[in-house]
């Protein structure tokens, strides 16, 4: 509903301006990401953790990664949820605004890749809105869509587990967002070479 009018009057944070300026250049890498969320509603639910890897020239760069738990104390308290898993985890922890800011700096103008990535982007956009930023401008690729394009299947969607089975990528029991991002990255490499995407 005429969101952009709302945004015109507002001053964006520095990091957002920086982010926008990066789009003057062409993207030079892919960022494969996965989010773990409290639910499926972008308006009400929040991101609990973020994991991402960069893919450059057909290889996953392990060093070029992003991994963080988001400390959603307020959300958890409001919904009466336990925060034990956050305390126990060894992963880096950040407040939502810090995490999102760091993540935006990390992705830059890269092409985003995910599994049902539109949902991840919606979740990120909601979080960005809370920080007075605009919507993500990155191009995005969805591995499910890529697979369906490759196999010419239009009438069904594939879960990440199903895709992993098809390409014999080992599944693990506990799925952190980093692990999911890594699996999506492997899938992406396989689909990328089959579809001949440069």
């Amino acid at each position: 509903m005429l969101d952009w009018i709302k945004n015109i009057s507002k001053e964006h944070p520095e990091f957002w301006k920086d982010y926008l300026s990066k789009f003057e250049n062409k993207p030079d890498k892919f960022i494969v990401l996965s989010t773990e969320t409290s639910g499926l509603n972008p308006d009400k639910d929040v991101i609990l953790s973020l994991g991402a890897f960069a893919v450059i020239d057909d290889g996953i760069e392990i060093k070029d990664n992003f991994e963080s738990l988001l400390l959603q104390y307020k959300f958890l308290k409001d919904n009466g949820l336990s925060n034990e898993f956050i305390i126990e985890s060894k992963m880096a922890k950040m407040e939502e605004h810090d995490a999102i800011e760091a993540f935006i700096k990390y992705i830059g103008n890269a092409v985003l890749v995910g599994h049902h990535i539109n949902f991840d982007i919606e979740m990120l956009n909601s979080a960005l809105e809370r920080l007075d930023c605009g919507r993500l401008k990155n191009e995005a690729l969805d591995v499910d869509m890529m697979y369906r394009k490759l196999t010419d299947i239009n009438d069904k969607q594939f879960s990440l587990d199903e895709l992993c089975d098809i390409y014999k990528i080992p599944k693990s029991d506990h799925n952190s967002s980093s692990e999911e991002a890594y699996k999506i990255a492997l899938l992406f490499l396989k689909l990328k070479s089959r579809l001949g995407i440069k």
Binding site: G51, I60, I62, E67, K90, K168, S178, E179, K190, S193
Partner: protein, 638 residues
């Protein structure tokens, strides 16, 4: 630390050389890895490509390393999960000398050389591992591959094993090298070298090597007139000497020569120049050592003209087998290689006989039966064979049969000279009964299989394990078809085989004690052949015939195949497959020790753990027996 970094480090720490590093070090390495995906047949790098800045670890899948020689692509090695390859950038500056190609879709980790180099420099175990791996993967093993491709079974490991085998071969070298001291005159030294007929001499001081003079020093420094022949020897010696420790392996020695660009290595007590000289390894020693690799043996077999040449080669095979067993190379690989060589020897024996007798008047097939037919002959056991020739017109029959009988007699005689004893039961092609036309053989199998028991004295189960050695493969196929056609729904025949398999005496008593021979020359010994191996062999044959699976003649592989075909009982079959290997190994070791067929094992001399191992290998037989009893109603003959 990132979760994935940790997982990669966890993966790496299982494999050499990474198992020499701490978890923290591995995490640092993992953090710098690039993960690549290779589709089937994708090329990672190829011959003459500029070097990459990384080396590689296979995370999943299989990568073939190949070389192109004589316009033919040959596989040097196959890298499986956890194997490293592409090490050239560590040691050399020139372009890749091989091609790395995905045999199936593979995921590999690329580890930057710059990141890994410090760990190599600080850790000699890691360095040694890389050196060895580089040496093995660089060697061109064309001969081995061509023999490997003939074997139909587990090729995947075959080639790996061969290069392992080659690599592990120990070197024999001159351990009383010529020595002199620095103040001697060059001419005297040269005379000494000529008299002793060697091309090198070590210059030492207090029995420690300080330099070496070889023929090339003499030609480049004396013959050119740079030094007078009256100068002292230390003027022209090459110094320092490259020294190695005793028991150096072939690959290591080869690598050191390449690395230091020398032709001789000095063996010293502790591997440094500051200890006593033990010997000298020359390039020639390396060539000699290479000569007993399986590929070379087969080549030599093909060239040999006399039975005594073949005998010499068979003796070298025994050495090879013994070495490999000591080095713990899996018995299934050893028997694969051994049977290829045995096959080549028998084939050559037939060829030599044909050369003597002139070309055969009809097409024929020479089949090995029994253990050689099953490719399980590690020791020199007796020879079992049959000859089948194509049908000819009745008037020619006599002449043709006569020719083949003479051929068979000659061949078995040659083989006897090589060291394969004649079969005491006369199961040889030189026997009138076992050298006949295809029609006669078809009749023979028909009568054996349809009316077993009636003439059972000449039915032996070994006729159902066969492999073509020489001649027309179509004839073997024809016989195989006869057998499988007769086997279908032939309860009588399976009853007979089943009873035959179960008739063998149990290996363990009710109280799980070994049942030993009670009388005869082998009193108090354990008859591993009849009590343990034969029941497994018989059972495997019975079951494979019953499941109508063609073309698998090896007991180990038969059990493996059965586990796939009859997955309900897979566990029993797999444990039998393992048991069979363990038992064969015991038998082979015993046989090598006593230079016999290893049929009787002296239990008293065995260590406690070996006894336990042997006992455990006998346990699956009980399950197998029950399985056979429930599968076939063994009534007619029991």
């Amino acid at each position: 630390m990132n979760t994935i970094t940790e997982q990669i480090a966890d993966f790496l720490k299982e494999y050499p050389p990474f198992n020499n590093l701490t978890f923290q070090e591995l995490s640092d390495i993992s953090n710098n890895i690039r993960v690549l995906n290779l589709e089937k047949h994708a090329v990672l790098f190829q011959n003459n490509d500029p070097l990459h800045d990384s080396f590689y670890v296979v995370a999943s899948g299989v990568i073939n390393l190949t070389k192109i020689a004589d316009a033919e692509e040959t596989i040097i090695n196959k890298c499986h999960e956890g194997d490293i390859f592409g090490l050239r950038p560590f040691f050399a500056k020139n372009n890749y000398m091989m091609t790395a190609k995905a045999r199936e879709e593979s995921i590999i980790y690329a580890i930057p050389i710059a990141v890994f180099r410090p760990f190599v420099a600080n850790n000699s175990d890691v360095l040694n591992f890389l050196l060895e791996n580089f040496a093995v993967n660089s060697r061109h093993t064309k001969d081995n591959v061509s023999t490997g491709s003939k074997s139909t079974s587990d090729n995947d490991f075959y080639i790996d094993q061969q290069s392992d085998m080659q690599y592990l071969q120990s070197l024999t070298y001159n351990n009383s090298p010529l020595k002199t001291e620095a103040h001697h005159i060059i001419r005297d030294v040269a005379i000494l070298m000529t008299d002793s007929m060697v091309d090198n001499i070590v210059i030492c001081e207090n029995d420690q090597p300080i330099g070496i003079v070889t023929n090339s020093d003499l030609s480049s420094k004396i013959a050119t007139g740079r030094y007078p022949i009256t100068a002292t020897i230390d003027k022209i010696m090459s110094s320092p000497v490259v020294t190695v420790i005793e028991n150096v392996s072939l690959a290591e020695a080869q690598l050191l020569m390449l690395k230091n660009n020398v032709t001789h290595l000095c063996v010293t007590k502790d591997g440094t120049a500051k200890s006593a000289i033990k010997g000298i390894i020359s390039e020639h020693d390396l060539i000699v050592a290479q000569a007993s690799n399986p590929g070379v043996l087969i080549k030599e077999i093909k060239r040999s003209q006399l039975p005594k040449d073949l005998k010499q080669i068979r003796d070298r095979l025994s050495d090879l087998i013994q070495n490999s067993i000591q080095k713990n190379i899996p018995i299934s690989h050893i028997s694969n290689i051994a049977s290829e060589i045995n096959l080549a020897i028998i084939k050559r024996a037939v060829e030599l006989s044909i050369l003597d007798l002139g070309s055969p008047p009809a097409r024929f097939a020479w089949l090995s039966i029994g253990s050689q037919g099953r490719k399980e002959q590690l020791l020199l056991t007796d020879q079992d064979s049959i000859l089948i020739f194509e049908d000819v017109t009745p008037e020619k029959y006599r002449d043709v049969k006569d020719y083949f009988l003479r051929l068979a007699k000659r061949t078995t005689a040659v083989l006897e000279k090589v060291g394969y004893e004649l079969c005491p039961n006369g199961h040889m092609a030189s026997n009138m009964l076992w050298c006949k036309s295809l029609t006669d053989w078809t009749k023979q199998y028909n009568s054996w299989m349809n009316t077993p028991g009636e003439n059972s004295n000449d039915l032996s189960s070994i006729f159902f394990d066969y492999e073509i050695v020489f001649g027309e493969p179509k004839i073997e196929e024809a016989i195989e078809n006869v057998i499988f056609k007769n086997a279908t729904n032939n309860t009588l025949f399976f009853d007979f085989l089943g009873n035959d398999a179960l008739r063998k005496n149990a290996p363990l008593s009710f109280f799980k004690k070994f049942i030993l021979e009670e009388e005869g020359p082998h009193k108090t010994k354990f008859d591993i052949k009849t009590r343990a191996l034969m029941p497994l062999i018989d059972a495997a044959r019975l079951l494979i015939l019953n499941s109508n699976i063609k073309g698998i003649q090896n007991t180990y592989l038969r059990f493996k195949q059965l586990a796939i075909a009859d997955s309900k009982n897979a566990e029993i079959y797999l444990s039998c497959a393992e048991a069979f290997l363990t038992l064969s190994k015991f038998r082979t070791i015993e046989g090598l020790k006593n230079d016999d067929s290893g049929q009787y094992i002296n239990i008293k001399d065995m260590s406690k753990t070996d006894k336990e191992k042997l006992k455990n290998a006998l346990l699956p037989m009980k399950d197998l027996e029950e399985l056979i009893k429930s599968k076939f109603q063994l009534t007619q003959f029991s």
